[in-house]
């Protein structure tokens, strides 16, 4: 039994051995660190990297590093090619000539530029029998009439153009008609514009043909037929948009980005019931089809100046991963660890809710110098401070304790204020009383002291709304002339509107003695919205307006208040878009159910300005129209603009620099900052400056940090 006793006596050494072993292992865990990764200390876990949901903070920052837009903004916020390398617009004119010989003669005249005006550039010319097809560069409304006007009239065919418009399925319907038609011999030529319009070129006894056509479609009213006799015309025209993609863009899984991806993204986001409905954004596009692997062609029913801004807003989705829509789990997996085509790819999610991003080796553009980006959590102030001192953290999302510390220790960190991206507003329902009165809305706007409402925290700031448009855009150079705080003026307006202050009730009442009460609906899950609603309630109480705050879930707010427009006021926030087209938000046509005009604003001047902004190309006129729109919106007060907020990023002093490639291929270094185009454009070029030496750490491949 000697051995048993010996074992018993030395057994405590096993404990000591286990502790030493554990110590060695744990100390080993410490050594593999994040290397030269640009490390951001986060407070909340990085959420799903969803392209369809508005997100903010570090999650948004990560998403923008993973996904690249189709088009990009330069430092002056001008739209520039990116994944879409080029785009051309062309007007395609189909001319029916008198005969094949006449078509040949006209073709020769076009080739010799006899029939072309100075501003016409021929991109393509094709002749098939007596039909001549000319593609001219650009969209100019009177291109076709001017070109055909230059023709010798004797060369043109003598046709009556009849335009038939149906709700849908025009080819099937017309084919059925032609099968039974007696007068169909008079149709000399036929072409279609999408699924709704057919151009019939008829010759001969056209009255009989028209009567037959009308009779047929009178019995098919379900298709909402419209028959228009355009008159003697031998041509039709259409506008086409050609889009060329870069051929060297790859997804993070190595698959190339092709026109199929763009087509899939367009189809997915413009279909009914899309999670991010962009149908309204692409109202001008009749159809979009792939020409080859990297080219697409779109047929346009309108040719606004803001066309490409719509493509800028279209997120690019990998068709090869997401085309199976029935697989919900696949989508959830995708947003957890998405495959994008941006400069950084997801290396892995961290167990503390953080994420590790690695530079994408197959990135088509200049690769950022910073190889790793790590977002991780530091639980205690002490660990943050130590990481700060040892250079293991570069950016921070500060909490209250850290903010207190940084105030007591100036110079250790510095703050970067991002551009304001979110606007807070109260949307009024202009179809309800008393909000249908402009004076009441103006009085409400004049009675709010924004200084008492807007706040600033360590991670975000709030300020009064500056413009309807993205800050820094050339036409957003004039402030929104919002009503200033004027309590007396507000009270006078309410008095004039018939709402007098009743001392006994401590509130304003109408002639019938009913207290002026407004119901303000707010998303209960958004603490900032609730805070703002309560602050406004206090402000409006000062002029005797009683505000009842209705805190409801987002689903209720969306489906039972906004979409049905059954509300008086709703506190909302929206992201300030980069595009200048605000048609959806303010145009009368958006009042319909499901439209973006939540306010019920119906104003002809605003409608015209919105259309003009869509169509205008001249920068000076864009500015004029934009300023006029702002003035009109302020005077009409369909909503009360509370303020706008932007992110505050805290960085270790001198820890980060911006290293951007120049046109000459050299790197330009500058201190970390946000350019005019915002954090999205600047962040990929952030790099650790290396001014504080770190411990000899390796890559994030280690087992732990």
């Amino acid at each position: 039994m000697f051995w048993l006793r010996t074992l018993f006596y030395v057994s405590p050494l096993a404990i000591a051995f286990a502790v030493v072993l554990l110590f060695r292992e744990v100390s080993h865990l410490q050594l593999p660190g994040v290397g030269e990764a640009l490390t951001t200390s986060i407070r909340e876990p990085i959420g799903p990297l969803d392209l369809f949901t508005p997100i903010s903070g570090p999650t948004r920052e990560v998403r923008d590093l993973i996904f690249d837009p189709l088009l990009i903004r330069d430092d002056d916020l001008n739209l520039r090619p990116h994944i879409i390398s080029s785009w051309d617009s062309q007007t395609v004119i189909v001319i029916r000539c008198f005969s094949e010989e006449a078509a040949g003669e006209a073709e020769a005249m076009i080739m010799s530029e006899e029939y072309l005006d100075e501003d016409m550039t021929v991109l393509g010319l094709n002749r098939e029998g007596s039909v001549l097809t000319v593609a001219l560069e650009g969209f100019i409304p009177d291109f076709e009439t001017r070109l055909v006007g230059n023709f010798d009239p004797g060369l043109l065919g003598d046709y009556l153009l009849v335009r038939l418009r149906l709700k849908h399925s025009i080819q099937d319907s017309l084919s059925t008609f032609l099968n039974s038609s007696v007068e169909k011999g008079q149709i000399k030529m036929l072409d279609f514009e999408g699924d709704e319009v057919a151009n019939l070129f008829v010759k001969g006894d056209t009255d009989l043909f028209l009567r037959e056509l009308e009779l047929y479609y009178d019995s098919n009213l379900s298709l909402a037929p419209e028959i228009e006799v355009v008159g003697q015309q031998s041509f039709t025209s259409s506008q086409e948009l050609s889009i060329q993609l870069r051929g060297d863009v790859k997804w993070h899984d190595g698959r190339p980005v092709t026109s199929a991806d763009l087509l899939f993204s367009y189809g997915e986001l413009t279909r009914p019931g899309s999670p991010m409905p962009l149908k309204g954004t692409f109202w001008f596009l009749e159809s979009l089809e792939a020409v080859d692997e990297f080219s697409l062609r779109g047929v346009c029913q309108d040719t606004p100046a803001v066309m490409m801004e719509s493509f800028e807003a279209l997120p690019l989705l990998p068709a090869h991963l997401l085309s199976d829509q029935s697989d919900e789990e696949r989508w959830l997996k995708f947003v957890e660890s998405p495959i994008g085509c941006g400069p950084y790819r997801v290396e892995r999610r961290r167990e503390d809710g953080g994420i590790v991003l690695a530079v994408f080796e197959g990135y088509f553009g200049t690769k950022p110098e910073q190889e790793w980006n790590v977002y991780r959590r530091f639980d205690s102030l002490e660990s943050k401070l130590l990481a700060l001192r040892s250079g293991r953290v570069d950016c921070l999302v500060p909490d209250e304790r850290f903010s207190d510390w940084s105030m007591r220790n100036p110079g250790r960190v510095r703050q970067i204020r991002c551009l304001p991206r979110i606007q807070y507003l109260v949307a009024w329902n202009l179809d309800t009383e008393p909000l249908d009165q402009n004076s009441v809305r103006t009085a409400l706007a004049k009675s709010v002291d924004l200084n008492a409402v807007l706040t600033e925290t360590a991670i975000s700031y709030q300020e009064p709304v500056w413009s309807l448009f993205f800050p820094g855009l050339p036409y957003a150079n004039r402030a929104l002339p919002l009503p200033l705080l004027d309590l007396k003026g507000a009270e006078n307006l309410l008095d004039e509107a018939g709402y007098l202050f009743d001392e006994s009730q401590g509130a304003r009442v109408d002639e019938a003695g009913v207290v002026l009460t407004l119901k303000l609906s707010v998303n209960e899950a958004d603490s900032e919205h609730v805070r703002l609603a309560r602050a406004l309630q206090n402000q409006w109480a000062a002029i005797g307006v009683v505000v009842e705050i209705e805190e409801v879930s987002w689903e209720v707010l969306l489906n039972q208040r906004l979409l049905t427009r059954e509300f008086e006021g709703v506190l909302l926030s929206w992201e300030i878009p980069l595009k200048r087209d605000r048609y959806e938000a303010f145009h009368s046509r958006g009042v319909e159910e499901g439209g973006g005009n939540l306010f019920g604003l119906r104003n002809q001047v605003v409608d015209e300005l919105l259309i003009n902004l869509r169509e205008e190309n001249r920068p000076d006129m864009i500015a004029v129209e934009a300023h006029r729109l702002q003035d009109e919106i302020v005077s009409l007060q369909p909503c009360f603009f509370i303020g706008q907020s932007g992110r505050i990023i805290t960085i270790r002093d001198e820890a980060v620099e911006v290293v951007r490639p120049s046109a000459g291929g050299e790197s330009i270094r500058s201190p970390a900052g946000i350019g005019k185009a915002g954090l999205e454009r600047s962040r990929p070029w952030w790099r650790r400056s290396g001014k504080i030496s770190t411990s000899p750490l390796t890559t994030p491949e280690g087992r732990g940090e």
Binding site: M1, R5, F8, Y9, S11, P12, I15, V19, L22, F23, E25, V26, S27, L29, Q30, R348, R350, E351, D352, R376, R377, F378, D379, S380, E382, S383, L386, A387, S390, R392, S695, R703, G704, E705
Partner: protein
């Protein structure tokens, strides 16, 4: 055996009830009478949000106590396990070597360590973590991304060590002294004279006679460990039941104080029950 078990279980439950009454009385006396608190023990509700838990585990329901419970049980398990293993083995070894003059030195390292408060151990660990590992204290943000969660074990070991050292020194001393006391009895001299070897006397006579008594000493250090747990957990900012108790005391959260007290009493009672069952099965009642 079953009857004995039922009897001891009943005794344990009675003890728990007594502890509960004493706890309620102490809380009311401390806060209500001496502290002039507006809230009395009969006014509190267990269904209200558990405020101290919100800060410790992020959950303000009683479910949030489960991770704290697990963490503390791990500490108690490690400290008590080490105490029993080292205390008995080296306590017996110290007694076995009693004929050597320097055998007392065997206990000295443990007694020295036990006399150093856990506070100093905390400081040592903090200094080492700070300068060697560039992380403060427990550095809870350090996450093991793959493999077993060694950090959790390491953190538990760091907290368990001062408690274990304390327990081991006490356990070793009482075990060793009790055996030496037994070895001083006349029958041992008789056995020597009868020609028995030292080994036979020690293992086959002294230890065999003392088996029951030594088993009775097994949970003697448990109250000491549980008491120390409160202070060490707080000192290390270790999120466990000790931290919960202190947090509850600071926030005058009576249910937290009560539940923690009952938890400790429950552990001690359960250990006593097991010890009694083992002793009974040895027939050494």
């Amino acid at each position: 055996m079953i009857r004995f078990f039922g009897q001891r279980l009943l005794v344990m439950l009675v003890r728990l009830v007594i502890v509960a009454i004493l706890l309620v009385t102490a809380i009311e006396l401390g806060y209500g009478v001496l502290g002039n608190s507006d809230v009395h023990v009969w006014e509190v509700s267990f269904s209200d949000p558990v405020v101290p838990l919100a800060e410790l585990s992020g959950s303000s329901t009683w479910e949030g106590m489960i991770p704290l419970l697990k963490s503390s049980m791990l500490i108690v398990g490690l400290a008590w396990g080490a105490t029993v293993l080292v205390g008995y083995s080296w306590g017996i070894l110290a007694a076995r070597l009693r004929q050597f003059k320097g055998h007392h030195l065997f206990l000295v390292p443990w007694l020295v360590l036990a006399s150093i408060p856990g506070f100093w151990w905390v400081i040592q660990v903090a200094i080492y973590s700070y300068f060697k590992w560039e992380r403060p204290g427990f550095a809870n943000e350090v996450v093991v991304e793959s493999g077993p969660d060694l950090m959790q074990w390491w953190n538990a070991v760091v907290v368990a060590i001062p408690l274990g050292v304390l327990g081991i020194s006490v356990q070793m001393r009482v075990v060793s002294e009790r055996i030496r006391e037994e070895a001083g009895l006349p029958f041992v001299r008789g056995l020597h004279r009868a020609g028995y070897s030292e080994s036979e006397i020690f293992y086959k006579n002294i230890l065999r006679r003392l088996t029951g008594e030594l088993v009775r000493l097994s949970d003697a250090t448990l109250p000491l460990i549980l008491g120390g747990l409160i202070f060490v957990e707080v000192a290390f900012r270790y999120e466990g039941m000790g931290s919960f108790l202190i947090s509850s005391l600071q926030l005058s959260y009576f249910p937290g104080i009560f539940v923690t007290g009952i938890w400790m009493a429950g552990i001690i009672g359960l250990a006593a029950l097991i010890r009694e069952m083992v002793v009974h099965s040895l027939g050494d009642d």
